[in-house]
Symmetry: C2
């Protein structure tokens, strides 16, 4: 009984003391001071503090898009960069492969790539095991370098966004990446940078075959592509809870952002990253529609630094 | 600095004291003493104790079948019990509905039900929102009663299995239900008893439509039914990690059990529940093949009691 009372007392003391101590210093040092940083911290503080806006830990769901939201997506999505490099290697090793997309690969046929993105994506890794393919992706992320930054693609996750993910997780949010890229690719490329388990890295699924412990990749999508309405759908299928926090950057994230914003049970926050910083990154319009309550984050004005290794 | 040192000290004390105190008493009181109970406790102790068999908390994945493993499945699966009750109510309220399965419902056509299980299951809730349908399921689980036990179906989860789920969760396992029943049904019926969030209650998915915050049920499966190879497949799609612990009871669980048993990275444990207790429940052969390492749990000899409210 004494042991039990002691442990209960210690538990109470721990719960009371630890959270305050954990964030005594700035949780988002790569963010410039300003309205957006304040809004994020105010939101997290409100939903984690007993009071009107409190949200139980089990309901603190946060969803992030990947390409262009937490990872550089220019001059082309990293999935495309990888798929082309992967197929080029297959074409090089198998000079007799005369079918597409290998023929286009050999002939550097840009027109083919421009109009056959789905075939390029689904052809890479066809017939391979999921595990071997994930290893190939991870190896690519650690070695292949970005044409502009000349560092491996795996280093091109935005430092402010990784800090935000860490900050949310430290406040008992369950954070998911909900990407339009293929799920195996998201798992291979984002696991190390985000620290999230595979079950929280979601994307468009390639249909798999199962036999005696191995998953073999088919050459087609399982069903939905996880862009636009596909994002709320994969959230419902795999999470089953409405996010209270969402972050995106393109029109393909609009449905997910509005889904979080429309949360009727809890206060919610949704943001999108505006790529307005040609000097440090790229400047482009990605078609997000401004709707009431949606916050625009400016890379130029809100990001103190872009990458961890600067 | 003093606050920080104090909290660090308290954290260390908490980590050191709490787990020991938490399981000082029997974690599985509804299990009879015996080889199976010992094997479970020895396994959990081994994978959570620093040493050769230690498994990091993030890799402690456990998967349970639902019907017949944690929930009574006789005289018929609870999903069928529910679907028929649901359709009977639709038929009653809409006397003009002359198509199937409503006609069969009205005529109590058992032959139709016997050969059209998929249509019965997919027809229930067609056109409804997922949320409303889940509420209907939960209401059924709390009010409709089992023909033999005369208590609501939601009370017919086996006490020893709920204890086992709690025991694993207290030891930082991530526990999933991987059922062949439809996912919305699993979420509706098992959430309260197991305490697991929707994202850890998996099953055969009905294809959904999304529009402005609402998910509407179609009348077809999304794709795979989560039995046999469908269980490892949904585990790979939604979890992406190989279980170290699995529990089933029928041939439809065999692939999942062998998938866990074949874990090459960590020690694993897989068990199946043999329904050999006609006196307290039902006695039937559910076709599990004995393979090396797979443990058979006898309801008659291993379960001290069946239900929490006995």
């Amino acid at each position: 009984m004494i042991g039990s009372s002691l442990s209960r007392l210690l538990l109470i003391v721990c719960v009371a003391v630890l959270p305050a101590a954990a964030w005594a210093k700035d949780p988002l040092p790569s963010w410039k001071e300003g309205a957006n940083k304040q809004a994020i911290i105010a939101f997290v503080t409100a939903v984690t503090t007993q009071g009107d806006a409190f949200v139980p830990a089990t309901d603190r769901i946060a969803t992030f898009d990947m390409d262009g939201t937490i990872l550089v997506e220019k001059p082309q999505a990293v999935l495309l960069e990888f798929s082309r490099a992967f197929l080029a290697e297959v074409a090089r090793k198998n000079p007799d492969l005369a079918t597409q997309p290998y023929k286009a690969m050999r002939e550097k046929d840009e027109a083919y790539f421009g109009t056959n993105l789905v075939e390029v994506i689904t052809s890479a890794g066809i017939g391979m095991s999921e595990e071997d393919f994930r290893k190939a992706i991870r190896s690519f992320a650690n070695t292949a370098t970005h044409p502009r930054y000349a560092v491996p693609f795996g280093k091109l996750f935005y430092a402010p966004m990784l800090e935000l993910i860490d900050y949310l997780r430290a406040n008992d949010f369950r954070v998911y990446v909900v990407s339009g890229s293929t799920q195996c690719f998201v798992r291979g490329v984002a696991r190390e940078a985000t620290g999230l388990p595979y079950g929280q890295l979601l994307g468009t699924q390639i249909a798999l075959y199962y036999y005696k412990g191995d998953f073999t990749r088919s050459g087609t999508f399982r069903d939905l592509t996880t862009v636009s309405a596909g994002k709320p759908l994969i959230i419902e299928y795999q999470i089953g809870q409405r996010p209270i926090f969402a972050f995106g950057n393109t029109s393909g994230d609009q449905d997910m952002l509005e889904y979080a914003l429309g949360n009727q049970t809890y206060r919610s926050l949704a943001l999108w990253l505006d790529h307005d910083d040609a000097e440090r990154e790229y400047a482009y319009d990605s078609g997000v529609k401004d709707v009431s309550g949606l916050l625009k984050v400016s890379m130029k004005n809100d990001f103190a630094r872009l990458f961890r290794e600067e």
